[in-house]
Assembly symmetry: C2
Homo-oligomer: 177 residues x 2
């Protein structure tokens, strides 16, 4: 069953960083579809795929994001924003939607990096004010829960890979070893 190690994929995982400064170049619809295909390839509890995505290109909407989340002040400079949401009605095993949509979001971020784009995850859920504000911004039904807002564009510069390895966070068989 041996397969050669896919070092290009490991490189993408290890070198992905958050990108918050973008050029004016637009991300194409084809690229956005690749990002969403990657997101939807994520695992989910019972393979329920409980996600929904709102692709925001309307600058009038992106201009309103900094007032919703000051940590997303650069949103108006992004080419596109992707609001990752759940519809809890899709869940087969209730309560796992945060994990499912987070796995999808990480796939999306990695795919952006693989495409030479820059992206950043800005937090929405569980901040109830942000959840309500994004719901209002894109006019979702009340049952829809916005989980994260991802901004994507061409990076002004590529941050260097970070070494985040912490050997002390690894335990063998039991916590104390």
């Amino acid at each position: 069953m041996d397969k050669p190690e896919n070092s290009a994929a490991l490189d993408v995982i290890m070198s992905r960083r958050s990108v918050r400064a973008f050029t004016s170049e637009e991300v194409s619809d084809e690229q956005v579809e690749k990002l969403l295909r990657a997101a939807m390839a994520a695992p989910s509890a019972g393979n329920a795929q409980p996600w929904e995505f709102v692709v925001i290109r309307d600058k009038a909407l992106l201009d309103k994001v900094p007032a919703i989340n000051p940590y997303a002040a650069f949103a108006p400079k992004a080419s596109v924003g992707i609001l990752v949401c759940t519809d809890p009605e899709y869940e087969k095993f209730p309560g796992y939607w945060i994990e499912d949509t987070s796995a999808a979001t990480e796939n999306l971020l990695l795919a952006a990096h693989a495409l030479g784009l820059g992206a950043v995850w800005t937090g929405v859920y569980p901040d109830s004010q942000r959840v309500s504000a994004f719901r209002a911004l894109v006019q979702t039904p009340e049952r829809i829960i916005p989980m994260a807002f991802i901004l994507v564009g061409y990076p002004q510069s590529l941050p260097k890979p970070a070494d985040r390895f912490l050997s002390e966070r690894i335990h063998q068989n039991t916590w104390s070893s």
Copy 2:
């Protein structure tokens, strides 16, 4: 800023599937370290990196997993189990740890696939019985929350890629469009 598309990385994202049947070949310590390096390269709210990992190779422990989670009945056949946990004390922005540890878990699954290994995410949190049982199994302090249990081994066979793309889950600017 253009960079060539890393299609090998996209392939790994698009072709990863859950693997639940393993050969008897053991995953090496070096491979496990690569998986954990990938996990720790994930983004987290405020870069808090609120994760801890328990690597379980002890067969006596793996044998106890099916009683904790019947959906992980194959755990004793895995070469290694990795319990992804949080220590909420690491959080800078409380409440985001599920998202952070889920992004780390997805990185781990993708890295396993990139290494030619097979892996599967089995659910722990928010099932309070499984959380308590895993906490007892590996003897964590009470504040530690086991989030997911990942089983890893050499795959008996590689499942074919699945097409999970659902165009109806994509909205443009607002929900109704």
